[in-house]
Each structure stands twice: as C-alpha cells, then as structure tokens.
Symmetry: C2
Subunit: 364 residues, 2 copies
C-alpha cells in the first residue's frame, strides 16, 4: 500500500468540521494555514489529540452500518500514534482488550496506532477482529471451530503458529501485525480474552453443547481515515448486540451452523421448513446468549433495545442539524426484523468523512 501525500482539500474539510463542532478550539483559519504549510513540507500533518479523538468519534458517527451509534460522543480514544513496532502493537492490542472489558462493564474504545506517512506506511493488523476463533481443518474436510477463519488459521500455521495440543472449537487466534517490512505473530495473553460460557435460562442440556463466546467484539482490519490521514491500525470495539453472536456467528451455515443440533435437542421436526424449527431454535440460541452474558455480568444488548436507541440517535442527530447515514440492510437486525422499529422506515445514505474503511471489498 503506497502512502500518497495527504489530500489538502480533505484536510481542510475536516479541520473546518472540527472547528465548527468545537467552538472552544477557536477559529479554523490559523490551524488550516499551519496544516497547509505542514503538508507542503512533509506531505502529511499531525492531528492534535483533540482532532484525533473527534475524528475517531465522528468516523463512528458516520458508520452507516452501525446500529450502536447513540453513544458516539463517549468513546474513549487511546492515542498511541507513537507505537508502530509489531510486538508493541500486539501488546497494546491486548491492553486494549483489558481496558475495553473493564471487569464486564464493556466500554467503547479505540486505540490509534501510527498513521501512514508518505513513504512509510503505518503498522497493520491482519486479524479481522482482535479476538476470533481458529477454524481447524480436519482430515475429513470438516472444520473444528469457526470455518470463516479456516484460511486465516492455515496462514498463521505457515507463519509458525502452533495450534493447541488439544484443538477446540474456541481457540483464540494469534494476532498478526506487520510494520516496516516485519511481520509478527503473538498469542493473546489469557487475561485479555474473557469469554462467556453459554447456558440457557431453562434448558439444562444447552450447557452440554460446550459453547462459549468472547466478551469484546473489536474490529481490527478497518482503516481509520481522518482529514486525509490514514490510520491503518486502529482497532475499536463496542459491546455485543446479541444477534451478532446468536443469529450470525453461531448459526450461519458457513460459521458454527448450530441450528440443526439445537433443533434436534429441542425435539423439533427438522424435516419440514414449515414447522419453523429453524426460527424456534434461533430464538432459544439468542435467549441463551443474552442470558449468559447477563449472568456473567458482561455488557450485551438485545436487538429491540439497540433499535430503540438507534431511533433516539437519529432524532438527536436531526435535532443537531445533521444527516445520519444509515444502511437499511445492515441496521435491521438479522432476526425478527419486522419487530424492530428500524425496519419500518428508510434512511439517508450520504457518504461522510471521517470514516472507517474496509480496504478489502466488504461483503456480508
């Protein structure tokens, strides 16, 4: 990835936004003059800490696919722009997870590592999320664990990762960080990976399935783009909405694909679609997820609550005189869509900056 000179127009647009929304920072003009000169000399510029924090929060506010944006102002921002060495990046990612977990009261957090600069790209984290589970391909072609990461698991194997002696369905993958031509592999320390064992509020047998999930969802492969400056390593997290685990990760046919087993254990007639056995099993899995997190004292929210919050967010944004971009097909939850108020309306979809960018073609 080449790191071109910063686009001056993008820088100016951002600085004007920053000063407009932060009147206490004074007028924009002097700062813009300074940044123009800095770009002229160095090809890029340094954000102030306040600009960086604002830029990161607004990038969240502008994430059209995110239903969780009501609390965008309160996200904590760790300014680690001085950190770029792969092992240090990895260690700070572990620290990110500890701070974000916060004893169970999960808090939105972003850690921003060194930016791209002309001729010197910043560090890069190759994992999609800081915590994801390995997919161990078995001799018979099946996958133990998360099939989505079977390819990534093979790749880290080639880089030297040794899978656990007794591989399980929930082995956290190592972090892969590269920077300045060096690629570093590191196992996450145990205390950084808090997990919740999944039990059901009524169905005793559910615990026997041996399911678990990690507490903190932290996306680590999206580039944070602020005012023309790119931060390729800027992992961020919120708390989980239950359906992400219960209606996608555990149930998608190309993920843990648990519906057939849960349907059988529930004693449902899984031979005919019209019994809606899948829909019933889905509800029970999602009840288990929400119940287990709550019982373990780990923040999680259900899709009804997050939908209501999101409508509140839209209202607040409107009152602030802003348009809020939203992508219907991502905002509407993957289960009981029609039951959530976010289903029954359309949204604006302008593309706004600052933003998080998926450099690979994003697919659901």
């Amino acid at each position: 990835a080449a790191s071109p000179v910063v686009d001056e127009a993008e820088a100016v647009e951002f600085l004007e936004l920053f000063h407009a929304e932060n009147p206490e920072a004074g007028p924009a003009a002097p700062r813009i003059r300074w940044v123009r000169a800095e770009i002229g000399f160095t090809g890029t510029y340094q954000h102030t800490s306040a600009e960086l924090a604002f830029g990161a929060r607004v990038a969240w506010r502008n994430s059209a696919r995110c239903i969780g944006r009501l609390y965008w102002r309160s996200m904590r921002v760790r300014d680690l722009r001085a950190v770029r060495e792969p092992a240090a990046v990895a260690a700070e990612c572990a620290e990110h997870l500890r701070i974000a977990f916060n004893g169970g009261k999960v808090r939105p957090l972003i850690t921003v590592f060194a930016p791209d600069a002309p001729g010197r790209p910043g560090p890069r984290i190759w994992n999609e999320q800081l915590i994801r589970y390995a997919g161990h391909r078995q001799a018979d072609g099946s996958v133990l664990g998360d099939p989505r990461y079977a390819g990534f698991t093979e790749a880290v194997g080639r880089l030297g990762w040794r899978r656990p002696e007794r591989p399980s369905a929930f082995d956290a993958l190592p972090l892969v960080v590269s920077s300045d031509g060096e690629t570093h592999l590191s196992t996450l320390p145990e205390d950084a990976v808090v997990e919740v064992p999944l039990v059901h509020p009524e169905l005793e047998w559910f615990a026997e399935l041996g399911l678990r999930w990690h507490a903190v969802p932290a996306i680590s492969n999206m580039r944070l783009s602020i005012g023309g400056v790119s931060y390729p390593a800027a992992p961020f997290n919120g708390w989980y909405m239950g359906t992400e685990i219960g209606a996608r990760n555990l149930t998608d046919p190309d993920r843990y694909d648990l519906l057939p087993e849960v349907g059988r254990r529930l004693g449902l007639d899984t031979g005919r679609e019209q019994t809606l056995w899948k829909d019933r099993a889905l509800v029970e899995i999602n009840r288990a997820v929400l119940h287990s997190f709550a019982a373990a004292g780990v923040t999680i929210s259900d899709h009804h609550t997050e939908s209501a919050r999101f409508l509140k967010h839209l209202e607040k944004e409107e009152r602030a005189g802003r348009v809020c971009p939203a992508d219907w097909s991502w905002i509407v939850p993957p289960m009981s869509g029609g039951l959530t108020p976010v289903f029954h309306r359309y949204y604006d979809t302008p593309h706004l900056r600052p933003e998080f960018v998926a450099d690979e073609d994003a697919t659901r």
Copy 2:
C-alpha cells in the same frame, strides 16, 4: 389522472421485447409499423391477447420487491379489457377471487380491465387489496379490526357502506370502483371471501383468540404499465407467504398488534426486552398461520421455502441472460432474515418495464 398519448418509444421497446422473447410471433417490424400508425390515429394502441399476457407476466418478473417470482410464466391472465362499468368490474373482481382460490389450490392470476385512453381513463379500484378488513374506530379512540384501514372504512361509510350490525375484527371491506365519473360501492359475495380460522398445532388457547385471515392476497391498487399503455385496474394475486400475515398484518403495532396478548398467553415475561418474548410470540403466531392454512387445504408457503425458490429464480434468470431486479429490504423476510439465503447477498436494482406502478408514494 389525465391519460396522455402513448409514448411511442415505450411501445416500440415493449414490442421488441415481446418479439425477441416470442420468436413464434414472427418479426417485430411489421407490428411496430402498425402500432406507430395506430398511435398516430388514436393516441394509443391495442395489445394483442398474447402481448397483454406476456406484458403482465413480465411486469411480475420485473417486480423488484416480490420474492415469489419463480412461477412468473405460469400466471393466468384474464383479458377483460372490454369491462369498464363499475358494477361489472366489481363483479369480475369477485369472480377473480373465486378462480384464484381454486378450491384451496391458490393460483397466480391477474384480471386486466379497460386501459386508460387519451381523454378516457380506465376504471379504478380504490381498495389496496380486493379483500382487506375494516377498521372500526370505537368511541374510546381504539380501532376494532385493521387500524390500517380505519380511514378507508370511514370513507366507505360516507359513501353509504353500512357496517355489519355486530362489527367484528374481520369484516371484509366493500369494493369501491370508479369509472367514467361514477363511483360504485359493492359488498363482496360471501363465496368470494374464503377465510382460514387460525389455530395452533399445539396451543389449544390460540383458537380462543378468534383470529382468521383471508386466503387470497390480491393487490388491486397498482397500475399495470405495458409498452406505454396503462391499465389502472388490474388486480393480481399469488398465494400468501406466511410472514405477510404472521409477521406483519397480525403483529405490526399499527395493525392487529397481537404480540402483547400472545406473549401474555404464553406466560412470558413481557416486561423485559431481553427475554425475547416478542421473538418467541412471533414464532408461535407464524406457526399457527402456516399450520392453519395447511390444515384448511389452502396454499401458503413459508419464508424459507420462498427464499430458496427465489434463489432458483435468480439462477434461471441469469441462465436466460437477463438481470433480475431485486430490492433487498423487501426480499428479505421480516422474521429470521439472517436464516434465509436471500439475506447473504446483494442484488441488481435496474428499473425495468413492463411494470406494476404504485401511483401513491409507496411506503412500507
């Protein structure tokens, strides 16, 4: 609604499509010459029966919001272009319902009444569907029946409709047809309105709710537009997908809003969203719908089955060298979206003709 002269380019585009997909009809050129002349003399032109049937079927094929398009070729087309008098239109709408119901083996059908012509608009049906239930506004402001049609119910009251002596939650609305300046109100004959009482495969008390729904969903307020000619009255029907009844009509808060009652009857903790009581009640209502229709011998399909059929349709269309327009937010069912294969992809959205047009701004 003024009825302007037919757009020649649209006519030609359609005739070329017709002849391209129906080689047995011979070359397009002579027909196009004829139609150009006809438009020149009369401002419009008459479709042949074959053109009309093809145009109606392709309008269905082009309906980006419809998941049920696999069987587009087999829709029956009733050519009633000679019918325009309001009472006759209403009588033929009743006949449409009988033919479509077909003893329970519901078949896709469209009845095409007289088109718009310059200076003489065709007849118009004011009902959204041929069968919909009245919403009787009560003294206390609440609505008995379907709140969506409370306004329409008041309007037909002003036109002279007398609601049943003992109004119920499921009183079929009268048809309102206007043509040549005359508006006609007519009650649907009983034998045209077949209904299914809703029972649950296991929960005895479900029958006590006294719910029912009509067998045939026939949209009657969309204009059929073929090759520049508009047919304002062209009611069409397929069979129901269960979620239309169970996850929208019976459950939307501004429709029958049944979740709270069903949740209570199920003994669920309806005070806290995270118990997913809404999701559980939703599944049971939808099971009841599918079970009741099947038990009554009336065609219905579940969202899993229709999703699979739709993917088959996409494949067939692709093999035929056509793009298939599809609107994600309408195609993905309102419950268990993520469980259906239609969720996990994007679609093309070109606007194609012939088409069904909602002249009012369509909102979900």
